[in-house]
Amino acid sequence: MSLDRVARERLVRALAAAVIEHADELTSLDQAIGDGDHGLNMKRGFEAVLAALPDLADKSLPDMLKAIGMTLVMKVGGASGPLVGTFFMELGKALPEQPSRPDLVAATDKAIEAVKARGRSEAGQKTLLDVLVPVHVVLAGGGDARAIAAEAAQAADRTTPMLAIRGRASFLGERSIGHMDPGSRSASLLIGAAVEILEFEVNP
């Protein structure tokens, strides 16, 4: 997987666009079972990320990811800022400058563990982990871009019938059932945007 400066900038713009264009949808999802700030919070964070271009793309891939993570931590707010920000920061810490596919599998595994620790959460609690964990399985199993994006979208859908155990939605108990988890949706949007830019060989 080769990510030159042009590709890095395309990646940043794609990630930001995916969130910003869907901000209203994320807000609606969060209004149903949370405090309704997820769309605006994520939009604010990724607008700040966009504002850091072009310098951001001048950095190496690891440094760029760490900088994106720190920006999200500082700007997003809510629990999403530290969670999504931690994911990017840990990814940056674990990846070499020109990662192979096994590098990416190992780094995303570390980043997911860090998100679990930050949220004191596991998959199955109706959070972004319910997208990250199954998508990692597909990535580790050699899935191509299409398979990864499809799993991300389906995994977000699978949070709809789940009972929320973590986050503001858990206050609703059984009433959290029947609504998609907003954090899962934003995670699936980010993953979908990322795999469109990145090149995945079908065979790992």
Binding site: N41, R44, M74, G77, A79, G81, P82, T86, R166, R168
Partner: protein, 128 residues
């Protein structure tokens, strides 16, 4: 002054400020105190930079106890603590207690010269 500092973190700046007023009523200036609330745009929420600033304001060699209202405040506070220098990091604790009551109890305990661990324990045990 080497009493344990108290930081109040609420999603609402009004709640954070009001809780700080209640603390002051109880302990006056005997305890270092700071409050923060709201997201970076001033809406309801919490932000790491504001929390870091509050820790700085309420800093004490005896350490700082942070009181938070809801999950996001807790997660952002933990993030802020991790961003502190290593020598300070171990001297800041997030309390698992209701924000208003916890702040008043923690500050009262602190005003008597108790350790950070005792301040945290008193806030957490009062409503446990």
């Amino acid at each position: 002054m080497s009493n344990v500092g108290i930081v109040i973190v609420s999603h609402s700046p009004k709640i954070a400020e009001g809780a700080a007023d209640m603390v002051r009523q109880m302990v006056g200036d005997a305890v270092p105190l700071a409050w923060t609330g709201g997201d970076v745009d001033g809406g309801l929420g919490t932000n790491v930079a504001g929390i870091l600033e509050a820790i700085e304001t309420a800093w004490s060699p005896a350490g700082v106890a942070i009181l938070v209202d809801l999950g996001g405040a807790e997660t952002n506070s933990e993030m802020a603590v991790e961003m502190l220098s290593e020598d300070r990091r171990a001297r800041v604790l997030v309390c698992n207690a209701p924000v208003v009551e916890g702040a008043v109890i923690a500050a009262t305990e602190s005003s008597g010269g108790s350790s950070l661990a005792a301040v945290k324990r008193s806030a957490e045990e009062f409503y446990a």
